[in-house]
Amino acid sequence: MNIFQIIVTILILSVLFFISKYRGVLFRRAFYILLTLIGLILLFFPNLTQKIADILGIGRGTDLLTYAFILFSWFWFISTSVKIQNLEQTITRIVRDSAINNVINAGNNKSQQSH
C-alpha cells in the first residue's frame, strides 16, 4: 500500500460518510455509493481498468477512465441544469402569483392590497 492509495482511501471513505448522511433519492444515493466503491476497488487493482478496456476495445485503461469521467460529467451537468431550470420555474410562479395578487391600481389613486 503506497502513500497515494492511503490518501485517496481516506478521501473516498470521507466522501462515503457524507453520502450516507445525504438524504436524497435512494437511487441517487445507491448510485454514488456504487461509484465510490468502484473507485476504491480500482485504486487497489489498477490493472482491472486495463482488463475492462480490453473487453470494450479501448486501447488503455486510463483512456477508459477518461471516457467514463467525461460521460459522468455530462450526466451531472444535464441533471443539474434540469434541476436549476425547474427551480427557476417554481420561483417564477411564486413571484408572478404574488405580483398578480398584490396589484397596485394607481388609476383609482389608491393602493389596494388583496390576497
Binding site: 434540469v82 417564477t92 413571484v95 408572478r96 404574488s98 405580483a99 398578480i100 397596485i104 394607481a106 388609476g107
Partner: protein, 236 residues
C-alpha cells in the same frame, strides 16, 4: 382604426426594469392617448415603480428580478384573468417605440384580419436610410442573423424577429405562454405563433436609436446567450 373599439379595452403592457430616466415620458403619452396601461416592474432598484405610480396605470411588482420574458408573461396572465381586454400591445419602456405606431400595429388585429401583428424596423419601404440610421452595423448584422435563424427553425417569414412592439387579440394572447424568463422570449413568442398556427403579419414601425436606448438595449454578445437559452433552456 375601428371607431367602435373603446380604448380602455386596449391594454398596453410595459415591462420595466430600471427605466426611471425615460419611463415617465412613455407612460405620460400612453395614458394621454387613453389606453389602459399595465406596467410590470421587474424589481427595479431605482425609482421606476414610484414614477409609474404617478400615472393612472395598473402596476404589478416582481419581488425579485426575473427578466423581460417573465415580466411579459406576468402581464399576460393578469390581463387574461383580471381584465376585459380585447386587444393587447407590448411596448418597451425605454422609449425606443413611438406612440403613433401603436395605431398602425393594432390595425390588422382590430380589423380581424390577423391574430398577431409584429413590428418590424426593416419593413418601412418609404425611407430605408432613416431606418438603419443610428443603428450600429453589428447590431444590424445580429438582427439579420436572428431573422435567418427564425426562417430556418420556425419557417416564419419575417423581416424583424426581435422587436418589442407587438399586438395580439385576446384569444391569441391566451395561447402564448412564455417560459423563457430572459431575452429568448422574443423567439419563443414566434415559436408559439408558429405552433398554434396564429395568423400574423408585420407592420412597419420606427425604432428610436437614442444614446439611452442603445445603452439600455441588448448587447450583441447577449444573442449568444439567447441561442443557448433556446437550445438548452427549452421546456421539458
Amino acid at each position: 382604426m375601428n371607431k367602435s373599439e373603446p380604448k380602455q379595452r386596449i391594454w398596453v403592457v410595459v415591462p420595466a426594469f430600471n427605466e426611471e430616466k425615460i419611463i415617465g415620458e412613455v407612460l405620460f403619452s400612453l395614458t394621454k392617448e387613453g389606453y389602459s396601461v399595465l406596467v410590470i416592474d421587474d424589481c427595479s432598484t431605482d425609482t421606476t415603480k414610484e414614477i409609474a405610480l404617478s400615472f393612472p396605470v395598473v402596476l404589478l411588482h416582481h419581488s425579485i428580478n426575473l427578466g423581460q420574458g417573465a415580466a411579459l408573461q406576468t402581464g399576460f396572465d393578469y390581463i387574461c384573468s383580471n381584465t376585459n381586454a380585447d386587444f393587447i400591445v407590448t411596448f418597451d419602456s425605454d422609449g425606443q417605440h413611438n406612440i403613433e405606431d401603436i395605431k398602425s400595429i393594432l390595425y390588422p388585429v382590430i380589423r380581424g384580419t390577423h391574430d398577431v401583428a409584429l413590428g418590424s424596423r426593416f419593413l418601412n419601404t418609404s425611407d430605408k436610410t432613416l431606418l438603419v440610421n443610428g443603428m450600429p452595423k453589428l447590431k444590424l448584422l445580429t438582427l439579420k442573423a436572428g431573422v435567418l435563424f427564425t426562417r430556418l427553425t420556425l419557417k416564419l417569414k419575417l423581416t424583424d424577429t426581435h422587436n418589442g412592439l407587438r399586438a395580439f387579440s385576446i384569444d391569441a394572447l391566451r395561447k402564448i405562454k412564455i417560459t423563457q424568463n430572459r431575452m429568448a422570449h422574443a423567439s419563443e413568442i414566434l415559436a408559439q405563433i408558429s405552433k398554434n398556427k396564429l395568423s400574423y403579419c408585420e407592420v412597419p414601425i420606427n425604432i428610436n436609436y437614442t444614446e439611452y436606448s442603445k445603452m439600455k438595449g441588448q448587447s450583441i454578445l447577449n444573442s449568444l446567450n439567447i441561442i443557448w437559452d433556446l437550445f438548452f433552456g427549452r421546456n421539458q
